[in-house]
């Protein structure tokens, strides 16, 4: 039985992205996300393909869980993984309904050409071009006519038993390659009638090779589980002079770090011995 789609939006790319690596966004009350990509088909035509179907962003659509979380869709799998702000930022526009069964959305329905930007320009939170769906006021009679009643993925405590919705099992694998993508369509779904709006924000698409900047790992962390290689003592020994100078530098560094730590532990709250405070600041 079809599930009604309450939100739909299309992102177009001005120049094709050879291979999409990751997609990062912040959720705003979207419960399920499907992603379709447009790729070249036979004879120069373009074909829309679904690469992700009904990824669950809010485990219980009636409640807040996951409603404003950050998500990352990876090329090979879907997870929430490490990203920083954009290498390629795209903006997108809400569209009106594309399929007769879908409810109309607010906003104009045009494909918006987008430019992959090399600069780190994040999509502003409040920028008008955001994927926005509008929940129509949903009455119980609409619930009755929906034909999707069943069980919620998780129980959702409500003051009065709320209508529950059978929701598709979220997919965790990309259903098609993210190569030669000329346009992307994000289909947002929110089966719960309690939210006024739903959308996704801060959308960023990273092409392959432009891996998103990671949070700083100490370098040793990447060497956590290498195959054990005992230090080879058979090779030529390094120049003792050179080793000595390097060790001296290391020693200075450790002393500097130690000094810093000591400062942190003292936990001073005064400035040059003074802590005369009259009023609190509101900013």
């Amino acid at each position: 039985m079809p599930v009604r789609i309450w939100g739909d939006a299309v992102v177009g790319l001005r120049s094709p992205v050879p291979q999409v690596q990751e997609i990062v966004f912040r959720n705003f009350y979207t419960a399920f996300l499907s992603v379709r990509v447009q790729r070249p088909g036979p004879g120069g035509s373009r074909r829309w393909m679904t690469c992700l179907r009904d990824l669950c962003l809010m485990p219980c659509p009636h409640t807040e869980e996951g409603s404003q979380d950050y998500f990352c869709l990876h090329r090979h799998q879907v997870s929430m993984s490490g990203w920083d702000r954009g290498v390629t930022s795209l903006w997108c526009s809400p569209l009106s309904a594309h399929t007769p069964g879908w409810l109309p959305l607010q906003g104009s329905g045009a494909h918006v050409p987008l430019t992959p930007m090399a600069a780190r320009v994040p999509v502003p939170h409040s920028a008008p071009p955001a994927l926005t769906g509008r929940c129509l006021p949903w009455t119980s009679s609409i619930w009755g006519g929906l034909g999707v009643l069943g069980g919620c993925p998780k129980s959702c405590p409500q003051s009065v038993p709320a209508p529950v919705v059978t929701l598709p099992v979220p997919s965790l694998q990309m259903l098609c390659d993210l190569d030669q993508v000329t346009a992307m369509r994000f289909i947002l779904r929110q089966p719960s009638p309690v939210w006024l709006h739903f959308t996704i924000e801060d959308l960023q698409i990273f092409p392959l090779g432009q891996k998103s900047p990671q949070k700083d790992f100490p370098s040793w962390l990447s060497q956590l589980t290498p195959p054990e290689q005992p230090a080879s003592l058979h090779g030529e020994l390094p120049d003792p002079e050179k080793v000595s100078t390097e060790v001296q530098q290391m020693w200075v560094l450790t002393e500097v770090i130690r000094a810093r730590q000591a400062a942190a532990r003292i936990g001073r709250f005064d400035v040059d011995g003074c802590y005369d405070v009259n009023l609190l600041s509101y900013t």
Binding site: V24, R26, F28, Y29, P59, C60, T63, E64, Q68, D69, Y70, C72, Q77, S79, M80, S81, G82, W83, D84, C135, P137, K154, S155, C156, P157, Q158, S159, V160, P161, A162, P193, V194, W195, L196, H197, Q214, K215, F217, P218, L221, L224, P230, A231, Q261, R265, I266, G267, F269, D270, V271, C274, Y275, D276, V277, N278, L279, L280, S281, Y282, T283
Partner: protein
């Protein structure tokens, strides 16, 4: 949430970074340097592993790592800004911000009205005087009639009642979208089956300390066995085992040590030194919040039959707490933000910016009740202090800040109302109709984690479970259970005042 590999790396990186800055690191370094001859370059890794095992350092490190994992939230999505880690829901952050502004205004107006500064250096003679009476500060009777608590739990409840999600369809007419209780935010709270699963060890068929009417397990048999296991857990010095153990309650004689083990507090010489330094900071600087602390202790703990004897301890802990800048660290995972000020009126000059009070926590009416029960367990002020600080940065801060965390006060209120409404609908409806919304009665219990309401032995058994499950949800469950226990009586009352009387703990 993060993908497992990257999440794990981030967690490891954070734990290592934090441990490197701790005294544990320098102690370990010193120990290793003493054992240098036993550690050879060609078998460095194995030798270090052996050394850690044989010297007992493996357990110490394990406990330290476990403690870090318990306190800090899982690493968030790196794209998420710091405020998202504090609180993921924007409207909650905004509400907390407005609430803080109200507190600041209240404190500022108190300063202006009374014409006293927020902080100033004590004159030398006052410093000497305070130092001399450090152990008997309770005998002091300063005139605090002009001071008033910055806020009380009922003020905070009013704020939580007005909390709304702007994206939620809040119709004027009652509908299934409106909650019938006072809390109107649609957070996810657990239902009974989920609670049963989470609090599995509290099942009726499992032995519990402090419950004398359980028919299934003979109490004496269970108690003897439980004490024996407790001693074994202590001998092992394993935080995780201790945490699991206290879920069934702590024997009184072992509680102090088990709690210290769970919270990873060992009261080392440097910890005692740190406490002494905080004490000297109290001696040097006179803060307005000191008067608020005095006032609060006089109004609450000093009037309590159980706790009045601990008055001096309470000052020794709370005054030092207000000067402890290490408490500021908890603001990385709390929705609250420490108040800021500028010394000597140098407004806007960042090099003169300071947090006020130095720990960033403004005490409210009843704050001292978080410390009072701990006085039964620890007599050494420095140890008592560390235990309280750790309990605060793990649990208590959540009871007076607006957040969507499952242990946050908003979720607790909603869990309480939902449980009551689902399982005692008639009682809930009756109390609501007579204008005695159940949360109006239970809110103060939960904000104080039942301290001052339950008898001390019962309270400590309750806090055992908070530590054991690393969660405050049990507070809401207990509050609902108290209503269930008094349901018959409560159905007869016709006013809020009468309901309060019927359900009081005394």
């Amino acid at each position: 949430m993060l993908e497992p590999d990257r999440g794990l790396s981030l967690t490891i990186a954070r734990v290592v970074q934090r441990l490197q800055g701790s005294s544990l690191h320098s102690q370990l370094e010193r120990q290793v340097s003493l054992h240098k001859p036993e550690i050879k370059l060609e078998s460095l890794k194995e030798d270090i592993k052996d050394f850690l095992k044989t010297s007992g350092w493996e357990k110490k490190l394990q406990n330290a790592v476990y403690s870090e994992l318990n306190v800090f939230p899982s690493p968030c999505h790196p794209a998420a800004p710091p405020e998202h880690i504090k609180e993921p829901l924007a409207y909650m952050r905004k509400a907390q911000g407005s609430w803080e502004k109200r507190i600041l205004k209240s404190l500022n107006s108190m300063c202006t009205e009374l014409n006293i500064p927020l902080a100033q250096k004590r004159p030398a003679n006052e410093q000497k005087e305070l130092l001399n009476k450090w152990n008997e500060m309770g005998t002091d009777e300063p005139d605090l009639s002009l001071f008033r608590p910055v806020y009380a739990p009922k003020d905070f409840l009013e704020v939580l009642m007005n909390l709304r999600n702007p994206n939620y369809e809040n119709g004027e007419q009652p509908s299934f979208r409106n909650h019938l209780g006072l809390i109107q935010v649609p957070l996810k709270v657990k239902d009974i089956p989920e609670l049963k699963e989470d609090f599995n060890e509290l099942g009726l068929n499992i032995g519990q300390l402090g419950i004398d009417d359980s028919a299934q397990v003979p109490p004496e048999f269970f108690e003897n066995e439980h004490v024996r296991v407790g001693q074994k857990v202590l001998a092992e010095q394993d935080s995780a085992a201790a945490q699991q153990y206290v879920r069934q309650g702590c024997p009184t004689a072992l509680r102090a040590d088990l709690w210290a083990l769970i919270l990873n507090i060992s009261n080392q010489p440097e910890d005692i030194l740190y406490y002494e330094q905080l004490k000297s900071n109290v001696i040097q600087h006179d803060l307005l919040v000191d008067s608020l602390i005095y006032k609060d202790v006089k109004l609450t703990a000093s009037n309590d039959d159980y706790y009045f004897v601990f008055e001096d301890y309470l000052y020794q802990v709370l005054l030092c707490f207000s000067r402890d800048t290490s408490v500021l660290e908890h603001f990385t995972y709390s929705s609250a933000t420490p108040p800021k000020s500028y010394i000597q009126g140098k407004l806007g000059m960042e090099e003169y910016a300071v947090f006020y009070p130095p720990n960033g926590v403004i005490p409210f009416h009843g704050f001292s009740m978080y410390v009072a029960p701990l006085c039964f367990l620890y007599h050494e002020p420095s140890k008592l202090y560390q235990i309280f600080r750790e309990m605060y940065v793990r649990f208590f801060f959540r009871l007076h800040s607006i957040s969507s965390h499952p242990s946050g006060i908003v979720s607790l209120c909603l869990l309480f109302e939902t449980l009551l409404q689902t399982h005692l609908p008639q009682l809930f409806y009756h109390l609501r109709e007579i204008g005695a919304q159940p949360l109006r009665i239970s809110f103060k219990w939960m904000v104080r984690a039942f301290s001052g309401y339950l008898a001390t032995d019962q309270l400590l058994l309750l806090w055992d479970r908070i530590l054991g499950y690393n969660s405050l949800e049990i507070l809401a469950v207990l509050a609902a259970a108290v209503f269930a226990f008094r349901a018959v009586n409560l159905m007869e009352v016709t006013s809020l005042a009468a309901a309060e009387v019927r359900i009081s703990f005394t």
